[in-house]
Amino acid sequence: MCFPAVAFFLIFSYMPMPGLYLAFIKYNYSDGIFGSAFAGLENFRFLVMTGDLWRLTFNTIAYNIAFILLGNMLQITVAVLLNEMRSKWFKKVSQTMMFLPYFVSAVLIGLIAYNILSYDYGILNSVLHSLGLDPVKAYSSPGAWPFIIVITYLWQSTGYGSIVYFAAIMGLDSEIVEASEIDGANAFQRIRYIVLPWLKPTFIILLLFSLGGILKGNFGLFFNLVGANNTALYASTDIIETYVFRSLMTNFNFSMGSAVSLYQSLFGFIVVLSANWLVKKVSPDNSLF
């Protein structure tokens, strides 16, 4: 019964792997993969020399760290606060509203950002104008984009992500909570000393999973927010995946794209292995494999 799945992964995941050979050649469309000249590490040398590799690595990792840390913090906050609420109606309605952004396509998210940030028509500039402030040119100021992208990520993922933590809180034994109340713990102390420590294992597991993807970007988010060819913003918005996409679709530089992909896969692989090794040392029950 596994056969279709094995065939599927063999074709769509394993067959492209030898294609990474592209990273070591100077690909020429007419000669094909095996006719093109072997270039050794020339592609990688070029990436290091131009500084592209450093910029891509820095952006990708910095964004992911912000996503992971702020994302989990906000998800935990929302889950804890939801748990404190009494009104069932409010809980249901607010959860439905927070879940909404998860359901729509990345394309629509890009349009929503445009709705807010567009220089001529965006609602942000309307508001700034009515307050007597100067309008902002979001689509040509690289400095603003780390905030825009992180906020959009949080906006989109918090409702969905908080469910896991909420479910974990539900598993907390109510007797412990009651006992703490009899001992005189107030709500803040209860959250600080019982609920948060209870969520630690869940947090570690999710952290591990996300560490594995620390060199993988959220392509849909970046591509649809920033646009395909907005060179003005590359310094702060170009991540590994947008670079690879461009090298395939705009520059037709297949070898360079593959070189970056190979770097991404190897680096990511090492990060997962070391993270797993670390967790195995600290708390063996939580390691992935």
Binding site: F8, S105, W155
Partner: protein, 303 residues
């Protein structure tokens, strides 16, 4: 004694009240932030182009107008075509994908299946290491010859390691004794799977099916890579992407209606198309949301 107990309890109540109010304010604010952008798109789609040019996008149409929708539907050929492609893709992809995920998940947790660990790793490994976009693109276009073929969008979305792992942990809660006793009664593996296992995993199937369906409905990435503009009908989100990013695309598709090119309401048409392309998902989602929550919850508890 009694007095201290009462005062301690009162203190708890006060702090509980504070936390609760923080919660109502914080969650209320955040939930509004999640909802309002959608209302902004909706409101703008009903605003006349001249009002947008004058005062920008707004929640409430300053000058109510159905013109953008009229143009979108005046020439319904393209959008209906995209709808059909997306609907067929979603139905076929979900049905086939779900069956494959269920089969794989069931087989991989059967204790009497010898290679289960090896195959599990074979599948899990693909999340650790991959060939990347360029070789994948070359595989689809030059070796499988699927450029401008709907299969290029349909096939890669069928399975994912994440969903298989999720299914595996669901099926694990069904005692293996059921499989064994059915085997003794003479049922074959497929019969056991179809007649016994599938009916018992309905909640899992619902959740995973929703994940796959949502993926196909919102699919734009593979469509953009593999379905070129030579194809008349492409997926709905790609259609929306083209309307958003290409003024030429909008002018061309509006050309056959009786509108002067300079009168084409570029901005409000983007919003109207977004509403049309997103509509069904938004309408369905309050009903399917609880399945999602259930599914994620069970997955989370089991780890």
């Amino acid at each position: 004694m009694d007095e201290t107990f009462v005062s301690a309890h009162k203190k708890t109540d006060a702090s509980g009240l504070v936390v609760r109010w923080i919660g109502y304010l914080f969650i209320g604010f955040f939930a509004l932030c999640c909802l309002l952008p959608f209302l902004l798109v909706l409101g703008t789609s009903f605003t006349s182009e001249s009002a947008i040019k004058l005062s920008g996008f707004n929640f409430w149409p300053k000058e109510f107008s159905l013109f953008a929708y009229k143009i979108v539907f005046e020439n319904p050929d393209l959008i209906i075509g995209s709808y059909i492609v997306t609907i067929v893709m979603t139905i076929v992809g979900t049905a086939v994908g779900l069956l494959l995920v269920a089969m794989t998940g069931y087989a991989l947790q059967r204790p009497d299946f010898m290679y289960r660990n090896k195959i599990s790793f074979f599948i899990y490994f693909t999340t650790l290491f991959s060939g990347g976009l360029v070789p994948f693109y070359l595989l689809i276009t030059q070796y499988l010859h699927l450029k401008d073929n709907y299969l290029a969008v349909l096939l890669p979305g069928l399975l994912s390691p994440f969903l298989i792992i999720m299914m595996k942990s669901f099926v694990r809660s069904i005692p293996h004794a059921i499989t064994e006793s059915a085997k003794i009664d003479g049922a074959g593996d497929f019969r056991i799977f179809l007649r016994l296992i599938l009916p018992m995993t309905t909640p899992a199937l619902a959740t995973i099916g929703l994940f796959i369906a949502l993926g196909y409905w919102n699919e734009w990435y593979n469509s953009m890579l593999f379905l070129s503009p030579d194809m008349k009908y492409r997926t709905l989100q790609l259609f929306l992407y083209n309307v958003i990013t290409s003024a030429d695309f909008v002018r061309n598709s509006a050309a056959s209606s009786n509108v002067q090119l300079r009168d084409v309401p570029l901005e409000s048409m983007k919003m109207a198309t977004a509403v049309v392309a997103t509509g069904p998902v938004i309408l369905f989602y309050p009903f399917v949301q609880r399945y999602f929550i259930k599914g994620i919850t069970v997955g989370a508890v089991k780890g």
